[in-house]
Subunit: 237 residues, 2 copies
DNA sequence: CCGGCGAAAAGTGTCAACATTTAATTGCAT
DNA sequence: ATGCAATTAAATGTTGACACTTTTCGCCGG
């Protein structure tokens, strides 16, 4: 049900937006949201991440506005910001749809990751603090029992010292990947190999060997890509 | 005058938005703009690219609305899309400003380019059509007299076969670089070396040698980065 | 029974007025 | 004259109503 609409709901089913802080400590947990449009944006982002708005589904402005008990103005502004982020696609007068990711788009995202995360890994080797690096090593060594409590890729992106790369990876690409994984169930694991490759990358980073770490990271992502296209070919037979 | 406001203009100074096509062949020259917000967006983009809105200057919604003879709604929606693209920054109730690029941001952009354009070059070696490659070779060989009529970087990005990388490079990063060049005059040339490096890259691409072309492109961008930080250090003394 | 045609419904785009917040200015006390 | 506080001005945020477009549903003819 990829082309369906978002779940229709009655007028009475109104959810309460978390109340705005009284304009004092907006930097509470990172979501500075004093305006309604900001809160609508955050809400839609959460719904997309949470799987409530499936990829390809239609987002209805008036329904969303009713649901959030706000006017259509803030809703429209939030949608325009999502549009600028390329998370929803729209044609002038037709409904806006959550972007749906096909195999081609996923391949593009993985190619982008190969270039960006390779560079991020190299930069992290030079910029990352010793404490952060130790935390990374420890977390990678004890991987397996805590599968998603610590994400090597995200940690590298967040500490690479390049805010633009960090934002692009964490706020957009990883977001899209989560959408895709939710959309087309978790692929059959490659976790053992991935863990081994993660350990190699962390080891190279521990030596502050930027070029080697970059090369390993790129190979790691390329193998994941090949694994993905293999899955895709198998599912198409 | 980096912190100034955008040029104030009287109420009577109204410019005419180019009239919308009658909803038939909107794909005329790539600017599908049937809604007012779309035209406002395109107008602001042109003004930023044209240097009328300097980096760091504030954009006044009501002035802009008056100037374009539209209401504030479309203006706000265009601004939100620009905000999603990270071309303007805003805090909840304060004026929105065109992003201003310091040396740190430029360095980040060049690091991003190194990763992305390297990958784009490798992909282009595999995906680019023979005709497109011939056009590239010919244009690079006859460089010098037609300095900006043909841009190697843009041509590679547009033909790399990865729409996401293409959009990010052409619609965002190159845009920001143009802003920066306009902001802090053209750096003292490195055109001879750049031309030579361009020729090497094109030669590797002509052999469809992806890894070599990628390596050359990355080295090319890294040299440009080092040149830029040298300029910066000199100007700071 | 099916396909084109037309009207009603739904949805998006635009506008002008109102509320709220920030910035600027004025006035006053020191 | 300078610095601080209250007031005024300006800009942004929000709302409901209206205009335009698309889609849908019903109708008629074949």
């Amino acid at each position: 049900m990829n082309t369906g609409v978002a779940p229709k709901l009655s007028t009475l089913d109104v959810v309460q937006l978390e109340p705005s802080v009284p304009a004092q400590q907006a930097a509470d947990d990172g979501d500075r949201s004093n305006t309604l449009a900001d809160r609508v944006l955050q809400d839609v982002l959460d719904r997309i991440a949470g799987g409530e708005f499936e990829p390809g589904s239609v987002i209805n402005e008036v329904d969303l506005a009713r649901r959030l008990a706000v006017s259509r103005g803030p809703v429209r502004e939030a949608m325009r910001r999502l549009e600028g982020r390329k998370l929803i696609a729209r044609n002038p007068f037709t409904r806006a749809r959550v972007v749906s990711l096909g195999h081609a788009e996923i391949r593009e995202i993985f190619e982008m990751r190969e270039g960006l995360e390779g560079m991020a890994t190299r930069l992290a080797c030079a910029h990352m603090s010793d404490e952060s690096l130790c935390a990374l090593i420890g977390a990678v060594e004890s991987a397996g029992q805590t599968p998603s409590a610590f994400d090597l890729h995200r940690h590298i992106a967040e500490n690479c010292g390049n805010g633009r790369i960090r934002d692009l990876l964490c706020d957009e690409l990883y977001y899209l990947l989560r959408m895709y994984r939710r959309q087309s169930g978790d692929a059959p694991g490659r976790r053992a190999e991935a863990s081994e490759e993660h350990w190699q990358i962390a080891s190279a980073m521990n030596q502050r060997n930027g070029p080697l770490a970059e090369s390993l990271m790129r190979a790691h992502i390329r193998r994941a890509t090949e694994h993905l296209v293999a899955i895709e070919a198998a599912s198409r037979s």
